[in-house]
């Protein structure tokens, strides 16, 4: 029997956004990465286009991170040298992008100077050819100074710079405009604030295809379902023509997964939860695969094994399938 399948027709698409810039384009990257452009719900190849695969950005921090030792041991030869760490992520673990986080800039922590941070950025830019995402320490005042300096130092590289938030977006937006970078617009698990922030940023004339949404996901078991539904709703909004929800989405999967108790406690403490190492890897991988189902475009991750599983998952999700 020939069955009439039910295909949805959508009016619009998710924005397509390019990260990085090659020499010809004014940067120094050996490749660029394109995300977004979907004209259907996640991986509905049977009724729309999924032109670009979701990508994995692996995290590098400017100072030794305070991570679970079992996670950190994958990087023990490199975690004091961000450039080498980034190279290992790309060459050994298959990272599509590097997410460089300046935890060391925090005035309440190591309080690294803006100049030192810019030097770290240069080190990483020279070590790898993939595009970079950079993110600050969370202190607004310091991050604004830092991101201005970083935007200028890497002018033309088309970085993805975070985080612009509802009450602190102007400085970073202006820096991205002047030096031709893209921006992460971060909203606290709230679709209205998400939209509002995109409006505010675009009113400063940053083009829509230079904005990425960070919906502030929760980790598996810690409110991830709120993010799941917000992402499903924003994809539906984008497809129905809401331009202010049409940006690609970035999810800080590694950060959220590895701050949960379930990823970290030992089997001695919780024998009924099984071994820590595979539990931790899966806590991150399952967070990632759930977010892929909801429409994530960029996954920021940590554990090499979780990255490997996620990339395999993406390969399978990207297999074309049609009813024709």
């Amino acid at each position: 029997m020939k069955l009439q399948v039910l295909k949805e027709k959508y009016r619009a698409k998710v924005q397509e956004l390019v990260l990085g810039a090659t020499k010809e384009e004014g940067g120094t990257r050996s490749c660029t990465v394109t995300v977004g452009g979907d004209s259907c719900l996640p991986f509905h190849h049977f009724e729309g286009e999924v032109p670009n695969r979701p990508v994995v950005a692996m995290e590098v921090t400017d100072i030794k991170p305070n991570w679970n030792p079992k996670l950190l041991k994958n990087f023990e030869d490199v975690f004091e040298k961000p450039g080498e760490w980034a190279r290992k992520n790309v060459e050994n673990f298959g990272a599509d992008l590097i997410y460089l986080k300046f935890d060391g800039a925090d005035p309440e922590g190591e309080d690294r100077s803006v100049e030192d941070c810019v030097e770290t950025l240069q080190e990483v830019l020279q070590a790898v050819g993939v595009p970079l995402i950079v993110s600050g320490c969370g202190n607004e005042e310091k991050d604004n100074k830092l991101m201005e300096a970083i935007a200028e130092a890497a002018s033309g590289e088309n970085l993805l710079i975070g985080n612009a938030e509802q009450d602190n977006y102007k400085t970073i937006t202006a820096a991205c405009m002047v030096h031709k970078h893209s921006i992460i617009a971060k909203s606290p698990l709230d679709i209205n604030i998400c939209k509002q922030l995109n409006i505010l940023i675009s009113e400063m004339n940053l083009p829509l295809n230079k904005i990425v949404i960070d919906p502030s996901i929760g980790g598996l078991g810690y409110g991830i379902e709120y993010a799941y539904s917000i992402m499903e709703r924003s994809r539906l909004g984008a497809l129905q023509g809401d331009k202010m929800l049409s940006m690609p989405i970035i999810c800080t999967v590694g950060y959220e997964a590895w701050r949960t108790k379930e990823a970290n406690v030992s089997e001695d403490e919780f024998p009924e939860w099984g071994t820590q190492e595979e539990r931790g890897v899966l806590w991150e991988a399952v967070t990632a695969s759930a977010m892929l189902q909801a429409g994530a475009h960029i996954l920021v991750m940590r554990h090499p094994k979780a990255v490997e599983l996620t990339k395999r998952n993406i390969d399978q999700l990207m297999q074309p399938f049609s009813y024709e």
């Binding site: 039910l6 598996l220 379902e225 108790k261 890897v281």
Partner: protein, 445 residues
């Protein structure tokens, strides 16, 4: 997607006799449309009208029950494509596969492991639902023996995996009374399998290669009179499974396409257990009502069951705990007292860490309508006067001699006002629950 009151009214006898308890047929029709009345109440409705109304009023996806009595598990009866439109109702059943090639000792080991698969997280118990026994040998007797052994050792409902009707018949002689899911009827065997399912009053999975073939086979089986069905469109790759499952769900809900109005069974094909879990995440997210997998390890299943619980949470209702004084460990009159909100993620994070500090303590869970600390504070639901009242209300002052209370670091600003209102000495704890063990050791050890 049910009928409107007027559509139902057209099918009623329009006698306005009032015997159904409603003054008029129209009022009765309106009650039917709202699900507040049963057609049985009308003594005069014609057979044709009853059939038309029954099928139109039936849920878009049938509720199918596997297992009996306290172990019965409900599948299907879903009404949404997206959880944010209302909610998903019946959590995907996780079925763990055991092959009939396993020796007795191996089976025993596996069953022991399965017994241990119970997890307590955030006050909820996560479990696996079914054991799927697979007739890998294609031998009738070996399958029957394996089913007999497994059925004797577990209370979990079974899924019987064999497309050989002779093997299924033998297995059902042993396990049929407990309402296992029969897997599967296919194009060749469906007459025999349907007869077996009917004789034993068991749900039957229907397997076909592709959606069109599946719809056709389902129609043949329902025509033969069996309507407890589960669907397998043969999809074994993630990409195709998402497409097929989405089509089945869409056609059932948006078009009321009857052949697809049943729950879906999915099979993981990955051999690496970690990749298998990732595959299962896609199936659970995209409408599978049963997922069959092979790993039996706790560290693999806990993340998967957590995702299932998250996905099936009611999006309109924040999950919360009761407002009360909670005792963690063997408390006494010197035990520390913590206060937090009643959002269950918040409360259980705090409870877990207070437990991990190994210092018996009290935790007061203040009713903030299920909001987390900072959200509740911003919303005026976690303020000094309210917390002070709750301190009095829960009776902690009769339980401890001291007057020290620890508040979350995120709401340190409450300190002064709360001391004034409650008369307690307020200690500012860590911002994140994870900081509690080291905080507790430095303050209370």
């Amino acid at each position: 997607m049910g009928l409107t009151g007027l559509e139902i009214y057209k099918q009623l006898p329009k006698k306005n006799c009032g015997e159904c308890g409603h003054p008029t047929c129209l009022a009765f029709a309106m009650s039917l449309a709202n699900g507040k009345a049963n057609l049985e109440a009308c003594p005069y409705v014609s057979e044709e009208a009853r059939e038309a109304l029954d099928s139109a009023a039936a849920p878009p996806i049938a509720k199918i029950i596997v297992g009996r009595d306290e172990n019965a598990y409900e599948l299907g009866d879903e009404t949404e494509l997206f959880r944010h439109d209302r909610k998903f109702y019946h959590e995907t059943a996780v079925a763990l596969e055991l092959k009939d090639t396993l020796s007795k000792e191996e089976l025993e080991n596996c069953l022991q492991k399965i017994k241990g698969l119970k997890f307590t997280r955030v006050g909820l118990e996560y479990k696996v639902q079914f054991i799927a026994v697979k007739n890998e040998t294609d031998e009738v007797d070996v399958f029957a023996k394996t089913v007999e052994y497994v059925a004797g050792k577990t209370k979990l409902p079974l899924v019987l995996l064999s497309e050989n009707p002779a093997a299924m018949e033998q297995a059902l002689k042993i396990a049929g009374k407990d309402k296992p899911l029969i897997y599967a009827a296919n194009e060749e065997n469906f007459e025999k399998m349907t007869a077996l399912a009917q004789e034993n009053d068991c749900p039957l999975a229907v397997k076909a290669e592709g959606l069109g073939e599946l719809a056709e086979l389902v129609e043949k089986i329902t025509k033969a009179g069996h309507k407890q069905l589960v669907l397998d469109p043969g999809s074994r790759s993630i990409s195709r499974a998402i497409a097929d499952f989405t089509q089945i769900r869409r056609l059932a809900i948006k078009k009321k396409f009857r052949p697809f109005g049943y729950p879906i069974i999915s099979f993981c094909t990955e051999t690496d257990p970690l990749a298998e879990i990732n595959q299962a995440v896609a199936y659970i997210s995209k409408y599978a009502s049963i997922v069959v997998l092979k790993t039996l390890e706790k560290e693999h299943l806990l993340p998967l069951l957590t995702w299932r619980q998250n996905l099936y949470t009611d999006p309109q209702v924040p999950i919360r705990v009761e407002e009360k004084l909670n005792e963690i460990g063997e408390v006494n009159e010197n035990s520390p007292v913590y206060v937090t909100t009643n959002f269950s993620l918040t409360y259980y994070s705090v409870e877990g860490e207070v437990g991990a500090s190994r210092i018996p303590s009290y935790i007061i869970s203040v009713d903030t309508d299920g909001l987390s600390v900072l959200t509740a504070y911003a919303d005026g639901k976690f303020e000094a006067d309210k917390i002070a009242k709750v301190i009095k209300k829960v009776g902690v002052e009769e339980k401890v001699k001291h007057r020290n209370i620890v508040i979350p670091g995120g709401v340190a600003v409450l300190k002064g006002k709360l001391e004034e209102e409650s008369g307690w000495n307020v200690l500012v704890g860590p911002r994140e629950a994870s900081g509690i063990p080291s905080y507790a050791k430095s303050k209370f050890a």
